[in-house]
């Protein structure tokens, strides 16, 4: 979430016609640029990105740093390939563009795509690097395409001159089956200095690595962003509900003083089994009933706690529940909760109203029965607690 202004230097020289990467080197570069712009703006909405070309007739700034993704994507169209890349001038113009950024609080970063041979001397590059370091500009270098003698060495020297505390990076990408952008996703250029990366980059990387068609839920977020978003949101909600349900059942069982650890364990196991194996509708019922009297704040707190560490693994979920049980909870709400659930008629009426839930289903019956048996000692416990509190007052 660093606040950053980034200038991307694109190589549109003749060497980019080569087809050893993706459809062509230039296309692969353009895809990578789009990805970077998306990632930067997502990780912090106030980030700005600008683009300039280094070859052609001369260094030309296409877009000054802006947070408008559309402008950046638009300027990538209609770019012509030709000429020779001028790395030194490109970096210096990028530095100038960053110097005149609107928000002086942003960190300055330059990302260079070096695809063609570097004709500058190592000394020149080192001096440029030192100047960047002096003005606290960080530099990321993507070394791809041509690999003539000295190019790697020169770029490494440039990086060494700029690097201040590992904030600058260099990535070497050889030609191969993977697309340029896919390889870039796993590099520190995207994951950004070990912060853990923006969710965008992380999820895209995971999807790409997993070998799926590349998209969660089989829906292209670009084609249908609303659908993808709706699917993701409902998935998370469902997960949160499941955890809340399982955790709630586990907590109720643990509040019981008698019964011992074993009973608690079996209770939670049964409850979690019932939660995870049963239909989604059953979970909804449990969550519904629980959420009815639950004070919203404590619930949300726990939901976020749970969902943060959530995994599909039932054992891990169980361990989480057991550990969360120690957290302080509103006892009155507990009492209300259990009273509500204890009311058999109320519960069965809710069950009946839910489509797809069969009240005669054995797992549901088990859960109900156990809850009911809990609620009675629970009420006794609460009554004991109440006079004690009065005594204290």
């Amino acid at each position: 979430m660093v606040l950053e202004a980034t200038m991307i230097c694109i190589d549109n020289s003749e060497w980019m016609r080569n087809g050893d990467y993706g459809p062509s080197r230039f296309q692969a570069q353009a895809d990578a640029v789009n990805l970077i712009c998306g990632a930067k703006t997502q990780s912090n909405p106030e980030n700005t990105v600008g683009v300039l070309t280094m070859a052609g007739k001369g260094v030309r700034v296409l877009v000054t740093p802006t947070s408008d993704l559309g402008k950046i994507l638009a300027c990538m169209h209609g770019l012509e390939i030709g000429g020779e890349m001028n790395l030194a001038a490109g970096i210096q113009v990028a530095q100038l563009a960053l110097k005149h950024r609107q928000n002086k609080k942003q960190q300055q970063r330059i990302i260079v795509f070096a695809g063609s041979p570097v004709k500058h001397e190592k000394k020149t590059l080192e001096m440029i690097g030192k100047k960047l370091k002096k003005n606290s500009v960080t530099l990321d270098i993507v070394n791809f395409g041509e690999d003539d003698e000295g190019k790697t060495e020169k770029l490494e020297a440039l990086l060494a001159a700029v690097n201040n505390n590992d904030t600058s990076h260099i990535v070497h990408i050889p030609a191969g089956p993977n697309a340029l952008s896919d390889v870039l996703l796993s590099t520190p250029i995207f994951t950004g200095d070990g912060e853990g990366g923006s969710g965008f980059a992380a999820s895209a990387a995971a999807a790409a690595a997993g070998g799926i068609s590349g998209f969660e839920f089989g829906v292209d977020p670009n084609l249908d962003p609303e659908l993808a978003l709706a699917l993701r949101v409902s998935m998370e909600e469902e997960r949160a509900r499941q955890e809340a349900a399982a955790k709630k059942a586990a907590e109720e069982s643990s509040k019981q003083e008698k019964g011992g650890e074993e009973q608690d364990a079996t209770m939670t196991e049964r409850a979690s089994e019932g939660a995870s194996e049963a239909d989604n509708k059953k979970n909804e019922f449990l969550a519904l009933a629980m959420s009815m009297d639950e004070p919203a704040s404590s619930h949300d707190l726990q939901d976020t706690e749970m969902s943060d560490a959530a995994t599909e693994d039932p054992e891990l979920a169980l361990a989480l529940q057991l550990s969360v049980q120690d957290s302080a909870k509103d006892s009155s709400s507990q009492a209300d909760m259990s009273k509500l659930l204890a009311d058999q008629s109320f519960v069965s009426s809710i069950l009946a109203s839910l489509p797809g839930v069969d009240p005669n289903d054995p797992s549901v019956k088990e859960v109900l029965a156990s809850m009911q048996s809990q609620s009675e000692p629970q009420q006794k416990q609460d009554e004991d607690k109440a006079p004690k509190e009065e005594d204290k007052k």
Binding site: K99, K104, K130, K133, K134, N135, S136, N164, N165
Partner: protein
Amino acid sequence: MACTHDHSCEDHDCSSNWSLYKHIDLAKVTALNEANPGSVKSVFKAWEERLNSSGERLESNEGDPELLVYIPFTSDVKIKSISVVGGADGTSPSKLRVFINREGIDFSDAQSMQPVQEWELVENLQGVLEYQTRYSKFQSVANITLHFPGSFGGDTTQIHYIGFKGEATQLKRDVVATIVYEITPNPSDHKTRAETGGGLSHVE
């Protein structure tokens, strides 16, 4: 402990004069060309600690003795004088140029701009020298930028202490944060002379 006043220091505490460091917004202090990011914050301390070099010091990068320090204050201050304690062996800064109330100055700006005031510094290892300012120009300082262009021959520039003497006001020189601009005027805001009695003007 000698100081440049012509009285003996045992009578009163000199350090109270150099207390402007308390009004420095330390979180937002930045420096350009420092070898260790963040080391600049260690040079702002109490007067008594100015010779205490056990902690970190501000050092420029190898081979490049130029330094630029940006210091914002939490409220507007008036600066009477500045004191700088440098390092030994020629690593003390030789010159000081200051800019007031300008943010985002970098080296090329600093070299081309006219400073508000500049001083030729001397090696001041004991921290007894202070450089007086043209007080009228330093009346409401919200932030100050110190540019040290070079050192006394050393490879790097080291600074152990920077002190400001002066007073702090309670005011803050703030940028206007929220303004609401009218697209169309609201008639009730504009009382005409006709309504207040007399005149030919009217409001559409």
